[in-house]
Amino acid sequence: MEKTDYTTIQNVILDAGPIIHLEEIDSLYLLTDFERLIIPDAVWREVEYHSPSVFKYRDINFEKANVVFDEDILSVCKLFCLDTGELEAITLCSQYPDSILLTDDASARLVAKTLGIRAHGTIGILLRAIRRKQFTPHETMRKLKEIPLKSTLFIRRSLLHEIIEEVKREYGLI
């Protein structure tokens, strides 16, 4: 598989999860590090319903996109019981080559992997923020700790603890 240069990612296709979860921990602006933030129609509606404040940030330019359905992708998504938003997000990835998908849904990530689409989630964005100098390691650790308190993202506590320990190790904070 061809390697993607992640420092020059231009198109990011968003599922609702990362948008909502990043907003819940006041970190939505981390998304401004990407060139284009593309949201499929169904996801747009979902976010508008659950977190209408998301679209009030003037510095973050989300683009709404219509999806042209593909029968093959549709059947794989149905097999994994993905909802409309995830289905549209995955389909949209096929319309934007070299894009990455941001989703916190484990099944959606599995489907993405099956289809050769690169997918990452809220945790990835928070960790990437250190490398991209948007956050210090301490800031990222603070945000990770806020997840169970402020966010609806479900992640096992022990796994979160492991990630925090990994950040400490990586950045010599132990």
């Binding site: 992640y6 484990a106 990530r109 599995l110 990452h120 989630g121 945790i123 990835g124 964005i125 928070l126 960790l127 990437r128 250190i130 490398r131 992640i155 096992r156 506590r157 022990s158 796994l159 492991e162 990630i163 990994e166 990586e170």
Partner: protein
């Protein structure tokens, strides 16, 4: 603490249970969750087999833990990339 008290009051009001009953339920739920965490953690560290983990917490939790760990590891590799 204030949040906890508000939540407790809401639960007492909404469920028509006494404060003691709600507290007992909360403790029971938390203990179950902590036990599950402990077992899944032991499985992911290779201290117990997959079969033992499934027997203890069920296949759904084991699969969720595996998927979540894989996803997080991928995110870590991506994010830490120099």
């Amino acid at each position: 603490m204030e949040n906890i008290m508000t939540n407790l009051e809401t639960l007492v009001r909404e469920t028509h249970k006494s404060e003691t009953e709600v507290m007992a339920l909360a403790l029971q739920t938390e203990l179950r969750q902590l036990t599950r965490e402990l077992i899944l953690g032991r499985y992911l560290r290779g201290e117990i087999s997959r079969g033992e983990a499934i027997e203890a917490v069920g296949i759904d939790w084991v699969e969720l833990a595996e998927k979540q760990r894989d996803a997080v590891m991928e995110d870590l590799a991506w994010a830490m990339k120099k």
